[in-house]
């Protein structure tokens, strides 16, 4: 009797798991299949295409109207530089906030928290004018500058992580005569690999996803990022060129999704280390 009940429970559970898996995968699968379908329209008779073609992928790179290749390289460039700069800035500042007790520390933490609560593009107009004054509009430099400058504000998770590394470690090193910088470089950095990965990954992917600010700053088509381009593609020709949009989406999503899945372990650690201390 008991066993029978257990089997029913398991069967139901597996059925539910399969159903959720289908829902989770379906959109991704649909886009991949759409990108391989001949023709341009959003509507298709069959879920599984009768014929497969790579023509939309080729089109992305040959079309004069869509500079997809250029956008892709632009985004890659901005994302890599932003990732490096913001990882350095975030780890340095959060290490200082976590490890040292200095005057103004609590104020700094509160200011960080309060600033994080302003809707991010409330400052959009002002940043736009500042960039105009600095002659940085329509440059990638502007995006890198603004993304990295704001990075430190999102560092609570990193601070939380540093808090959990025993302080006796760095005290011991200090007694042995290491300078603060040495302690940071030789002891803290090797220990915080998961956190560094987390910060680097989120700032890298953040650039791929941001289109609001990028759209405001980047005016000429050659300077666009993928996000701006894709958004434009969807909004300007929804039904007629859907398959091309699908192909573009796949090319953006694949590297990032793979990165996420391979680095999952670090992500989970990053998420939970912010949580567990509630």
């Amino acid at each position: 009797m008991r066993k029978w009940k257990n089997n029913v429970r398991l069967t139901l559970s597996y059925a539910l798991l399969l159903l959720i898996s289908a829902v989770a995968i379906y959109p991704a699968l649909w886009v991949v299949l759409s990108s391989l379908r001949p023709g341009g329209s959003l509507y298709s008779e069959h879920f599984w295409p009768r014929q497969f073609t790579l023509v939309h992928y080729a089109e992305l790179f040959t079309s004069k109207a869509y500079l997809y290749g250029t956008w892709y390289l632009n985004t890659l460039k901005i994302a890599v530089v932003t990732m490096i700069l913001s990882t350095i800035l975030v780890t340095l500042s959060m290490y200082a906030l976590s490890r040292f007790r200095f005057r103004g520390r609590k104020t700094a933490l509160t200011v960080m928290l309060v600033l994080g609560m302003f809707p991010s593009f409330m400052s959009l107009i002002a940043i736009y004018i500042i960039l105009l004054q600095l002659n940085l509009l329509d440059t990638h430099m502007a995006l890198i500058l603004v993304y990295s400058a704001g990075a430190a504000l999102g560092g609570f998770i990193v601070k939380g992580f540093f808090d959990t590394i025993p302080r006796s470690l760095d005290e011991a090193a200090r007694i042995d005569g290491a300078s603060h910088l040495q302690v940071f470089a030789k002891i803290m950095l090797p220990l915080s690999k998961p956190m560094l990965t987390y910060v680097a990954l989120t700032s890298f992917t953040g650039v791929w996803g941001d289109f609001i600010f990028a759209r405001l700053v980047l005016r000429t088509k050659e300077n666009w990022t993928v996000a701006v381009g894709m958004w434009d593609l969807v909004n300007s020709l929804q039904n007629s060129n859907f398959t091309m949009f699908a192909a573009g989406s796949v090319l953006v999503a694949i590297p990032i999704t793979l990165l996420f899945i391979f680095l999952q372990r670090f992500l989970v650690q990053g998420l939970t280390s912010g949580a567990s201390k509630g």
Partner: protein, 437 residues
Amino acid sequence: MKQHRTIAVLLSIVLQGLGQIYNRQWLKGILFMLLEVAGFIYIAPRLGGAIWGLVTLGEKTQKFVKVGKVAQMVKGDHSIFLILDGLIILFLVFVLLGVYVWNIADAYRNGKLRDEKKAVNTFRQSYEHATTFYFPYFMLALPALGVLFFTIMPIVFTVMLAFTNYSAPDHIPPAKLVDWVGFKTFVDLVKMKSWSHTFVGVLVWTIIWAVLATVTTYFGGILVALLIEQKGIRFRKLWRTIFIIPYAIPQLISLLVMKNLFNGQFGPINQYLGYFGLGGLPWLTDPFWAKVTVITVNMWIGIPVSMVLILGILTSIPRDLYEAADVDGASTLQKFRIITMPFILFSTMPILIMQFAGNINNFNVIFLLTGGNPAKGDYQFAGATDLLITWLYKLTLDNNKYNVASAVGIIIFLIVAIFSIWNFRRSKSFKEEDMIQ
């Protein structure tokens, strides 16, 4: 014997760095002095104009003047640039004042050392002293400057806009000037029928959305996590990886894809409904269904995050609690209600509140999916699914109602701030941060 410190302080007040030179800290003194000279050269000619600009917001508009036979345009004052230029100068003045105070304090400290017949630090020693005792300040200096100029100053600027009449069509520079109007924008938002109707409508939907979006993803996450962690379920890692996919795909892409999936005319969802003999639904074009769609899509995106979080917490629940419950003959449901749920709630409470606050500002889901539409005729520049934040965006970028947008921004901030500060204060990590170790 307080001679040295008095003289050093007085000299440093007169000219930054002079006190240090008096204390025979040559290099440091020269550095201080150069900084002051550079700052002075930059700021002095600009300060008067900056204050004038901030107070008056400009006096002349641009106009055409006849020179001979052709009309020539004469540039007027641009009120908005005046505000921003003024702010930049004021911020620089604050930074330099900070250095000035530091210089005086430093002169005093070293003067005191000399009064006590102790040697002052050489430049090398000062450097070492600084990197030991002021280390955190050095680490924070660069990020702090970035935040000051690219976050704090823009926010101050935008807050100031809320107290002006900077809006289309009558007050857009350079053709027209902008003036300070005090709290008029806020009063209009509440009292003027056309604005208040939109404001209240959008505010109510924002709160309904934030509650539903948070609750559905949270409990959805718990459900999925428990499903995976059940006794006897195999391939746990595989399930987890599959369920994480929606989280891994860049949001921008998945939302744009969803927009197409739910397309009323050509989208596959309606196509499938058709197979079952059901009529298609106006997923994105009917006010009610658009709301259902955004919440459903948000679940698809948000549940994986909650699931990851809760899976982490489930593993941290002590096993012996369940063993004890088994001994007492508790049913599965009882174990869940008395052990699992309180444990999850307790550890995720701060995150839950932050997610709620985050959902109030959840721009992407609404903007990319529906763009705030379907439009509502009796709303001012807003649609049925617009949140305060997307309304703010439309007010700013599409309609140039900068003053109303800033006022809405301040209101959003106040709502979010109340939740977050309350949450932050009560969370243990702030109060007892040093007790962890």
